[in-house]
Symmetry: D3
Subunit: 236 residues, 6 copies
Amino acid sequence: MKSDETLFALLSRASTASLTAVLLQHGISRAFMYGVAPLPHSRPRVVGRAFTMRSVAVREDILATDRQRPPEVNLQRRAAEECPPGHVLVIDCRGNASGASGGLILFERMRMRGCAGVVSDGGVRDAHDIVATKFPVYAKAVCPPNSLVAHRFVDLQVPITCGEVAVYPGDIIVGDPDGVVVVPAALGEVVAEEAAMIEEKEEFILRKIRSGASIFGTYPLSGDALREFETTRKRS
Amino acid sequence: MKSDETLFALLSRASTASLTAVLLQHGISRAFMYGVAPLPHSRPRVVGRAFTMRSVAVREDILATDRQRPPEVNLQRRAAEECPPGHVLVIDCRGNASGASGGLILFERMRMRGCAGVVSDGGVRDAHDIVATKFPVYAKAVCPPNSLVAHRFVDLQVPITCGEVAVYPGDIIVGDPDGVVVVPAALGEVVAEEAAMIEEKEEFILRKIRSGASIFGTYPLSGDALREFETTRKRS
Amino acid sequence: MKSDETLFALLSRASTASLTAVLLQHGISRAFMYGVAPLPHSRPRVVGRAFTMRSVAVREDILATDRQRPPEVNLQRRAAEECPPGHVLVIDCRGNASGASGGLILFERMRMRGCAGVVSDGGVRDAHDIVATKFPVYAKAVCPPNSLVAHRFVDLQVPITCGEVAVYPGDIIVGDPDGVVVVPAALGEVVAEEAAMIEEKEEFILRKIRSGASIFGTYPLSGDALREFETTRKRS
Amino acid sequence: MKSDETLFALLSRASTASLTAVLLQHGISRAFMYGVAPLPHSRPRVVGRAFTMRSVAVREDILATDRQRPPEVNLQRRAAEECPPGHVLVIDCRGNASGASGGLILFERMRMRGCAGVVSDGGVRDAHDIVATKFPVYAKAVCPPNSLVAHRFVDLQVPITCGEVAVYPGDIIVGDPDGVVVVPAALGEVVAEEAAMIEEKEEFILRKIRSGASIFGTYPLSGDALREFETTRKRS
Amino acid sequence: MKSDETLFALLSRASTASLTAVLLQHGISRAFMYGVAPLPHSRPRVVGRAFTMRSVAVREDILATDRQRPPEVNLQRRAAEECPPGHVLVIDCRGNASGASGGLILFERMRMRGCAGVVSDGGVRDAHDIVATKFPVYAKAVCPPNSLVAHRFVDLQVPITCGEVAVYPGDIIVGDPDGVVVVPAALGEVVAEEAAMIEEKEEFILRKIRSGASIFGTYPLSGDALREFETTRKRS
Amino acid sequence: MKSDETLFALLSRASTASLTAVLLQHGISRAFMYGVAPLPHSRPRVVGRAFTMRSVAVREDILATDRQRPPEVNLQRRAAEECPPGHVLVIDCRGNASGASGGLILFERMRMRGCAGVVSDGGVRDAHDIVATKFPVYAKAVCPPNSLVAHRFVDLQVPITCGEVAVYPGDIIVGDPDGVVVVPAALGEVVAEEAAMIEEKEEFILRKIRSGASIFGTYPLSGDALREFETTRKRS
């Protein structure tokens, strides 16, 4: 079995387009997070294991109680301190972006601690400043109002839904400038290898297309073009 | 402290309109479930403590594994057997009604067991047949396709969100033909009493209005009308 | 010029389908209120001149000030007292149904005063009880929470938008079980007459269709069928 | 192979819930039309082969040209005359209900001609009057404004999408009070048989549940309960 | 009649704002594609005749059959080979962006063949890489999952709807960084000329405004300013 | 009381995130405009008093009358001439972006006159060209079609709703690249001061976090870190 380092190196070269194609071949059609995008003016890339956080809707009576508890039990803060280096914090905001799920200070702490990035189907505040730090963040919307107008975080490391996709702790999160894909933990290795193969094949196809080849025979590869690809591969 | 029986008797005479008004006076603005309605052609009423069930999005690899597990671990079935008599099963479907969260057979079992009703922000199948049984059911939409096209149920009796409202196990669910309100457990008694007072006052106001009184002086009650109401109350 | 009584008698026999067709022939395509429907389990009919009320979003600082003002300046209450008999109160809630725009007591006062009905693109509370009174009410949704969670009413009798349609004070509102149409005041008479003609023609067409006639030649009327219709009309 | 009569008799006893379950077992998850519902205050049932009609968005220059063409080339009228007896007219309105896709006169002609019903993902005008005729109609919304404010019909009997589901001419449309399911033509017989089996089994299960049986062992049937069911079946 | 080259040169200097204004003067209000935008981080411009492709929803039984057919009959591939040089491929995805309508390889082939661009009301995969090629692409959303999770393409060169606008083969598509407008084929020349006139006039107006002129008298041009504009024009 | 110049200098250093946090502490949760964003490819900043404009839906009969009136009574033009220097024109388009609420020429006139910017919950045309002028504009969407396909402007300087937030003439509008916040006029000074304090504190916290401090003890500041911050402040 590959180490995470090797695995992630492979996955970081795969596009979210290739990854969803491979996952579909393994019967998984629900892997791309709809409505979860890079912050404006950013083109992030991220690979890492999922560290999950779950929310429910805020309610004023519970909020009043929460406010009397010490900051140490606040799950947003705990997530910023406990999400392991190399991991991606994935936040289930129930697709509700009327409140933020985090902002510059929490994410800077995560960046300092070596976390890989943040993915949320809620809002993110301080978006403009976060983009300047180059920390990879994907969200449903920019939302300056803070989390407590909408969310109460109730669990770390449980199964969640983010962007209409199920995420289990330890799943592999891969983001590129086009969005975020969840790769089930058990499929990481085979998906990484098959996606690498797709990337290799598509680069070959692109070269052919750019030298004037027709789609037919080239995409998908068949006949002479397929043989040429296979010969080229063997040599390398 | 009132018994649940006394409390529920009081609450069942309060409309969801009065309950949201009382809750707002206690600082709680997020109590009414938006988008969760009686099944078509029904006008249900329900009062009971919340028994909660949580879902995440379905994912094909997890579904394949689940299918090999015995029916006894399925949470929808466990909910139908474990939701206590007099309780309302409240199902968090993440507002997604593309799959059902239950149907006639499960709900008939619950009705047999003395459960009070079901509230879901997902779909419900067999809706037409369920309405015929008079079992109180509120949902986001009628949806014949079953749950596994959209949902995997992962927890019983945890805090959830339903219809954009937080529901904690043991909260009191009150439904009338206009919809569903969540009364926090700790506020049940005071809310029940104040709502009963509102109902009494509004019946008095309605009688005045129906005898030709102006809104001014009557709604809200003031001056002579208020004195008349207070006198009437003392006598009864 | 026809009296309102004569005009409304004519309009009350026209369906919203015929009225939108006539208005389109006069170049008006924006007359039907989208998303504004009869309350559940009701099939209202209404005709009357529009008395308008406008809202803006609620804001907590303004709300605090409003609460210290006497009930007499509250526009919802004033509308209930000032909307003239035979008129329809049309409420602009900006399409936002997260708060009510009225409820049983206000509408009962309007019914007592001889108002014709209420049309709102916001919520309505006490919907189930209002339907029992037979007072014609159309709204975007049933919504028990009261108006102040969402709306502040700021003007009476100004131009508004309701259900994405412009309504000017004095326009004629016609509602049937299928929805609500706004007839511009200046067009009332011609629209009423042409709609009556359409109704007459369509009843004739329906009789032909129900005796087995083909759509072709009958709808639209032409040739023999048209001559028969014209002959029949002359006789009556 | 069964005749349509036999097949439809079988299918008319199956609920849309059972049909989607059977179709899912055959790998088809996209069979239920989302957002397409019975007209208000109706509980229709329908079974029949699909006769399809396709629309594109209206455009004023094309509309002007169309208006100069004879009524006989209008596809809505042709559909009303050409949809065969026993067939269901399925109308692709691109999910746009801002204009009607039909009304009372066209549908009365279809009823006279023995058509089985109409299914549309657009609007329907004269809804209240259509319900009175008992002709089965499903649509996205009630919409008095006529089709030409939104739609131009361009094809009969081509593959279409209705309610987000693909419909090919000749597919079997089954509607009950809960909605509409598309059964692919080639699967009609096997789906009908398996759905009948499900109905039979669920009636047995319901009887058990209503006599106090637990969900476990009964739903799904296993052990003694399964043997009892199989014995009962053999006897009948 | 102008050649396409001359016509397109003229149209490429007109903004989509001017074009919609001119089309409205010709009675056409439905020309701008709502919800169809440049890919992120791009500011494309395109002019060309429409080559259209139509989709229906995917269905698993049909998909299984399609997979056994040779790649040559696949309409996405055929479109990439058959869309003539200088033409814009306009794809009707029914406004559904849950699956892609194309990606880098197909679009690179089109770019090689001299096609002008692509406009789709569905998703586009490989968006980040496509933007790098400078090929003009407009879509509803970035969507890595490929077309077969949502779409089956069924027709080339038929009337379609894209972005809620009707597009007929041969219509002229004009895109600028603000979006896409459809110019009906028969109106191409007159619209091009009138839009050029508007551009000229607005440049003159802008110069006046930027030298301190008031809106009144300048926009719209009247009195002295209008005479100055007309004098200037004659001289040039 | 501070002059507007001093006040705006202070507010221009506060982020929308800090401002919403301060406003929430003053009980105001509805201050951030949802769905109102910088034009594409821009990162505007703006501070100024609100000058408001209100619209209703367009209706063809009213439009015909308006067209015969002189340009001087057109409220869009009047707004461009009457919005005072340093003020922000805030346009209530009822959240409808199917028509523009302004374009390059009107906004250039406003820029020449020293207006601070424009905020609209409708569309904006000529967006690409406006961004080039650096004039700060926030809107719901880019929309080339002009205002009269959707809007009729009916009032200047009345209370409006924009982006679901109430705006009263004279309120202070603060926009940064993340969006727009409304600061009630009466709260301007206290909000400006408290937001400045938050900015100062958060800069201190960020420096600590970037030197490796934990979230706990730092965010919120407490213990030693709080003392250090207070000492630092006193010195400066």
